[in-house]
Structures are given as structure tokens and as C-alpha cells.
Symmetry: C2
Subunit: 226 residues, 2 copies
DNA sequence: CGCCGCCTTGACTCCCTTCAATGCGAGTGG
DNA sequence: CCACTCGCATTGAAGGGAGTCAAGGCGGCG
């Protein structure tokens, strides 16, 4: 299973286009500041969203306050659909964001009415499911350094860059995404720096200095701490 | 997030019925012995499946031979759809099984062509996605005993029983499902026995003796080993 | 300048894995 | 009927990787 596929633009053009046709009048744009929530777990799910710019994290909060970040979404991804009437996650902007909002009922009807849209939407969901399972493998079976390496590689791929890759999210967000603690994420990044596999331009910007090694670490070559 | 919802019959009746109408002629039945594989990761995905009887595990194998079991499927669940042309998982019978096989192309077309079927199928996929995310939380944030307790409760719910609940899968399968080792699963079960929260009739049959405690353990009351 | 949030590092602990041996039930053949 | 075996399950001992607790460090902003 390739951990690095399935990124980039996963919402075929036909999607946005046909949607705009079908329900143009009801769509609205919303702008969010960093830290603002788009929706909160438990509230009524009235809209589906398409992200135009910025980065959004979707997460659950456990009883003890810990979080599990299910996904980070960036430009042109759709999200916010749920099989229940209520939102099952909380979505929060981690950078200033622009999102397009589709009324849920109308959105679902429009999709169900068009075979082409249905097929696209099904595909999006299946991709999402596949990603979730990849991450289950990652969280369940990979060491901290493997998880972080995999995460960095995915970010670099998404941004189609190897130098000055931007970390939109905080260390805490990364930890919550990878099923680690913030301290472990830090130490692991430090270790990758020490091994000169990555260079940190700043806390939020990094460059991959040795991609082969980073991939080797991600694949589980026993490159240990120490 | 309630860990115990979303089980049981998740494929609405309209599904099977309309499918039978739409493509009755092309559907075939297949029987599997325990241990037989239905499909293997990487091979061409020509069918979608509906399980009539028995239990199937769907998993990935990592380079080093470890496995991550994505799901166990039992009666009346549909599975085997993938966004790619190829199977992304391996499906293997863990008991003797009967499955109904739908040719993939025709299946997808039939679904996309019918708004009602589309809606059902979407719901199934969203439920599956939700389950995958619940399990990400479980694997990423819960202790071994919490995971095992949660797993036992889910099994009992699926079988709608509290006594003589059947474990169709081996300890290894459970471990691979929960992101643990077989030894940890064993020790954890032993600990739950010692605390008289469960009783093991045999290695593969258990009874929940103290459901409240089992739920407390699953929720994370600090019931430690020792 | 000084506060505040985020990040980093250190020391210690502990839960889970690893490695290794033993138990146990079912099927087989002498 | 019983010895033998094979796969699965259980238990023990030891070690390590990541969590926890605690103390700075650093950069941005009023």
C-alpha cells in the first residue's frame, strides 16, 4: 500500500461545475480567521463544504480533553458530510480560510439525482475511507519516527515542494493527527535534524535534505533514536 | 462519540431488493471454507460482495509480515468496493462463508442510476468512514485494556447477547485489528477474567459477567493491569 | 521591555513489545 | 486407546519506546 498516493485534487472538475449549475443560487462563501470553528461536534449538519483557500482541521475531542485529528483539508477538497443529521467532528481553521458552503439537503439531492455526480462523490468517499485505513495502519503499527517521516513526505507531496515546505499546523495538531504527544513529535523532528535528513528553516518551515533517507525511515528501516 | 453505534444491519432493505431487480441475472453465490481468500490485495477488483453467512476479515499485510485488519464483516454487510481498479485489501474467510457476488461495473452503474440506491450506498460508505475514524481514535489514544473491552462490547452488541458470545476470530486476528500483539491481547483477557468482568467458557466463547465494569474499562476508568 | 503562546529538552516511569517456554485441544495413525 | 503432532493460546521475564512531569527557550506583539 503506497502511503503517498491519493492526495492532491481528489474532487473531479465535473463536481464543482455541475454543483454550481445545479444549485448556484444557494451556495454561499464564508471566511474564517485562524482558530475559528466552522462547525462543532454534535450540532446540526446543515452544510457541506468545499475549501477554497487555507487549511482546516477536522477532529474529535475525547472526554479527557485529548484530541484525534481525523484530517487536514486544503484547497479544493470537500468535507463535512456525515451519515447522521449531526456533525460527528469539529472543524476548525488553522489558517485564515475561505470555504464554499452547500446546503446539505440540496447538495445530497443534487448528487443523488445525477449519475455522474454520484459516481464522483462515491469515489471521493472511497478515497477518504482508504486514507483513513492507511492512517489506521500508520497509527497502529508504525513507530513515532516512521509516522512523522510519513507525515512530512505527504506534506511535501501535497505542496509539490522539497524545500521550504510549510507546516500550517502546530506541533499539538501534528501530535493529535499522528496519535503521539507533542513532546514525541518535537524529539522526533530534532532527531531527523540531527541525522541531517531534514533542515528546519523555522519551527513551521522545513526542507527535505535527504529524501531517500526520509523515505527509508518512513518505510521502517531501523533508523532508531540514538 | 458513541463507540457502540453503527453496527448491526447497515444495509437498508431497499438496497438488496433493488439490486436483485436491477441485476439479478448477473449475481452469483460463492461459498468459502475457513481460511480461503475471496480476493487479494493488488488483484483486479471485479466484484462487490454481500455476505450471507459467516465472517470475513479484510486486511493489509505490511512489508515485515505484520497485518492490520481493517474490518470484520458478517451477515448482510456489503464490502469490496474500492476507488481503484484494484483491490486495496485482502479478504479472507475466518469461518465457512456464503457471499453474494455483484459484478463491479454493473453494480456501480446500477447504484449511480438510482437516487435511492445512491443514497443508501452513500450512507453505507459514510458509516464505514465513521467507523474507521472511531477505530483510529481507539488505536491512537486508548490503552490495551480499553481497546479489548471496547472490542468485546461491540461483538456482544453485534450478536445481541451477553452470554456465550462467540469469537469467530483468532487472538492474532484480534491483535491485528486492535493494533496490539497477540500476547497483549491474551494478558488483557486474562486480566478481565481475574477481575471477574468476563468469563471465558472456552478460548473462543465468553460471557460478560459485569457489563457496567466492562463499559467503565472501555471508557477509560483507570482500571490497570495489577 | 516583558508577557504569552508555542516549541524544545531533560529525567523518569511504565505499558506494551519482544523473546522464549509451556499448556492445551483436536485430529491422526500406530 | 494412547502417543504424537500441529496450531493456537497462555504465561513469564526483560527491555525499550513513548508518555508524563517539569523546566527552560524563543519569537512575536502590545
Amino acid at each position: 500500500m503506497d502511503k503517498r498516493e491519493g492526495n492532491g485534487i481528489e474532487t473531479p472538475m465535473v463536481f464543482a461545475a455541475a454543483l454550481a449549475d445545479g444549485m448556484g443560487a444557494n451556495v454561499c462563501i464564508r471566511r474564517l480567521k485562524a482558530g475559528e470553528t466552522l462547525y462543532v461536534e454534535g450540532e446540526s449538519a446543515d452544510y457541506c463544504y468545499e475549501i477554497v483557500s487555507g487549511v482546516i482541521k477536522e477532529y474529535n475531542t475525547l472526554e479527557d480533553g485529548r484530541r484525534q485529528v481525523a484530517e487536514f483539508y486544503s484547497a479544493v477538497e470537500m468535507f463535512g458530510f456525515s451519515e447522521s443529521e449531526d456533525q460527528l467532528h469539529t472543524a476548525e481553521a488553522i489558517t485564515p480560510c475561505t470555504v464554499r458552503c452547500y446546503p446539505r439537503e440540496a447538495f445530497m439531492k443534487t448528487v443523488a439525482a445525477s449519475p455522474a455526480l454520484s459516481a464522483s462523490f462515491l469515489k471521493t468517499l472511497m478515497t477518504r475511507l482508504h486514507r483513513a485505513r492507511e492512517r489506521m495502519v500508520m497509527i497502529g503499527r508504525m513507530s513515532a519516527i516512521q509516522r512523522v517521516a510519513t507525515f512530512l513526505l505527504r506534506l511535501a507531496d501535497d505542496q509539490e515542494a522539497r524545500a521550504n515546505v510549510h507546516l500550517a499546523m502546530s506541533r499539538q495538531d501534528i501530535a493529535d493527527h499522528l496519535g503521539l504527544t507533542i513532546e514525541t513529535v518535537c524529539r522526533t523532528l530534532t532527531e531527523l535534524k540531527k541525522q541531517q535528513i531534514i533542515v528546519m528553516e523555522s519551527a513551521r518551515i522545513f526542507t527535505i535534505a535527504d529524501e531517500a533517507s526520509l523515505e527509508a525511515v518512513a518505510m521502517g528501516s531501523r533508523a532508531r533514536l540514538h
